[in-house]
């Protein structure tokens, strides 16, 4: 726990120092996308790694946040911050409606149900043309403003998006190291035993599922106000699969894995622009390699290297003792 907060502090310093030595606006765009996607992946990591459930529709919740924010601010002239909260509440509600029947059952019913929801949402985004603008999307979404500052350029939005990321990361660190966090891990490891110890299995699974949908919704709202334009594209099934890939590649049992996996998979296509057509192919290869050589993901690999280094350092003493 202490170690997590130290890394958090290090990450915070790094993030807020970065603009002083990097000026390329393109670089900021990439970093903003890492923050926004990272928030979704963080929630998904809580669900997958700490509660043992899979969602194949998280891009749908991401889209719900984005479209609720877009529609409420553009059509109904809500304040963006209020729209963000309303989007969050609506997403929590929809996720609960989906989770209540499916999470009572053992097995991967949630994966199926979220897959279905993702598809349904995609259709709504495309077909409700009057509200959503249909396949060509809708623009004119206002920027976020606070204390007289408009988060209208990449430099400012960089700080805003990473502030959100760090806040949610901090809350998640606390959650994982709490009574509820332990109970969730217990559920993912042995549901029956967890129940006999007084842990309300269905209720906690629902709680963490709704929470992870909530993270996605917040990220979606940020996305809408950053782009000031939304279209159905980034919220489809392939996007959901990419988010699962980010969790798995990063390492689902570590919150830091969420950041690493997102950073890798968001920046990779940017690095391999010439390979655009092969993007999904490269993803697939990376996923296979990670599963073979680092089943606990990038975070697991780093942890292993760390502990190996520690053993190396201790060895001389152990020999003489």
């Amino acid at each position: 726990m202490k170690r997590d907060w130290l890394i958090w502090l290090g990450a915070a310093i790094l993030i807020f120092a970065t603009p002083s030595f990097i000026k390329s606006p393109y670089f900021f765009t990439v970093l903003i996308f890492i923050a926004i996607n990272g928030i979704v992946v963080l929630g998904l990591t809580l669900l997958m790694g700490f509660a043992g459930q899979v969602s194949l529709g998280h891009a749908g919740f991401f889209g719900l946040g984005a479209y609720f924010s877009a529609i409420l601010t553009y059509h109904y002239h809500f304040d963006p911050w209020i729209a963000m909260v309303l989007a969050l509440v609506a997403t929590l509600f929809i996720a609960s409606l989906l989770g209540i029947p499916t999470l009572r059952l053992h097995g991967h019913y949630l994966a199926m149900a979220t897959l279905g929801l993702g598809v349904v949402l995609q259709i709504i985004f495309k077909e409700e043309v009057e509200l959503t603008g249909g396949p060509s999307g809708m623009g004119g979404i206002p920027y976020l403003k606070a204390f007289g500052i408009s988060f209208s350029n990449d430099y400012r939005f960089y700080f805003l998006s990473w502030a959100f990321m760090l806040l949610l990361l901090g809350l998640s660190i606390n959650l994982v190291h709490s009574r509820i966090g332990r109970a969730l891990r217990a559920i993912s490891q042995n549901q029956v035993a967890a129940g006999t110890l007084g842990i309300p299995v269905s209720r906690l699974k629902l709680l963490i599922f709704a929470l992870s949908a909530g993270y996605a919704s917040l990220a979606g709202s940020l996305y809408a106000h950053y782009m000031t334009f939304v279209s159905p594209g980034p919220f489809g099934f392939m996007a959901s699969v990419k988010m699962v890939a980010m969790v798995v590649i990063g390492g689902s049992t570590s919150l830091w894995g969420a950041l690493l996996g997102t950073a890798l998979l968001v920046s990779l296509p940017e690095l391999l622009t010439k390979l655009q057509d092969y993007e999904m192919f490269v993803y697939g290869i990376i996923m296979i390699l990670v599963m073979i050589f680092a089943p606990k993901g990038l975070a697991g690999m780093i942890g292993k290297v760390g502990s190996l280094a520690r053993i190396r350092l201790k060895e001389p003493n152990a020999g003489t003792g």
């Binding site: 809350l171 509820i180 891990r185 110890l197 007084g198 309300p200």
Partner: protein
């Protein structure tokens, strides 16, 4: 304190339990024995709320608990162990006991998010409780080791500790000595005898006859889902129906006559 009334349960066409009734007094230790497939573990699963019976009622302290979910049964301070260990493998030894303390704590999601001073105090209290219990079951030195690194006998102890962590009134032990060697079994006996002094009511399923006979105040014998005998250990040992039930199971007869 616990009363089972005409419990029946079938799986497919197989009658796992048929019209089983017995009652338990506060502070009593009851041995539940019978050949393999007699329905002993099924009965534990029904009492602990893992699944409900097809017929019959379970009453605890005068309250009907027949259809309560497992986590609500636990809230009544009924805890159990499993025949095939169900330790949380991915956690440390200490963490297993912290989870065992789940019902001791109250902190919900918001105090967890914000790590309120109140939540920190509660966490420290739970840590202390878990460490004390670890010392009691002799696993203090292993507190921060991964649970899966423990030897089998220690895992049995850990699971017992986990069931004790939140302070049971009724404890269901499913073959606690299975897989233990002679010395470990003796240590277990001594530990269970200590529980008697804490007035914890216990039902114990066990194949180790000497353990059952020495520990139990009373014994209930199941065979093919039916209760065939009930009484003091010595009486049950002489019961012709019990001897017949075990006919063909040589080890059993030997152990009964020992």
């Amino acid at each position: 304190m616990l009363e089972l009334v005409e419990i029946g349960k079938s799986f497919g066409g197989v009658r796992a339990l048929d019209n089983v009734s017995f009652a338990l007094e506060q502070g009593e230790i009851l041995g539940l024995i019978g050949p393999n497939g007699a329905g002993k573990t099924t009965l534990f699963n029904i009492i602990s709320g893992i699944f409900p019976p097809d017929q019959g009622r379970v009453r605890f302290q005068g309250k009907d608990i027949t259809r309560l979910a497992a986590h609500k049964i636990a809230r009544l301070n009924i805890f159990r162990t499993f025949q095939n260990l169900s330790i949380f493998d991915g956690m440390t030894v200490l963490e297993n006991l912290l989870v065992g303390n789940h019902l001791v704590g109250k902190a919900g999601i918001f105090s967890a998010f914000l790590k309120t001073p109140w939540e920190r105090r509660e966490e420290r209290m739970i840590q202390r409780r878990a460490l004390n219990l670890l010392a009691e079951i002799g696993l203090a030195a292993a507190a921060n080791l991964p649970a899966k690194s423990l030897a089998f006998g220690k895992l049995r102890l850990l699971e017992l500790g986990r069931a004790l962590a939140a302070g049971p009134q009724l404890l269901l032990l499913d073959e606690p000595a299975a897989g233990l060697n002679q010395r470990e079994t003796e240590e277990l006996m001594a530990f269970l005898a200590g529980l008697r002094e804490k007035e914890i009511t216990i039902i114990v399923i066990e194949h180790d006859m000497s353990l059952v006979m020495e520990l139990s105040d009373r014994v209930v014998v199941l065979d093919q889902g039916k209760k065939i005998a009930e009484g003091r250990p010595r009486e049950v040992q002489q019961n012709p129906a019990v001897l017949t039930a075990y006919l063909g199971e040589d080890d059993w007869i030997k152990s009964l006559r020992r």
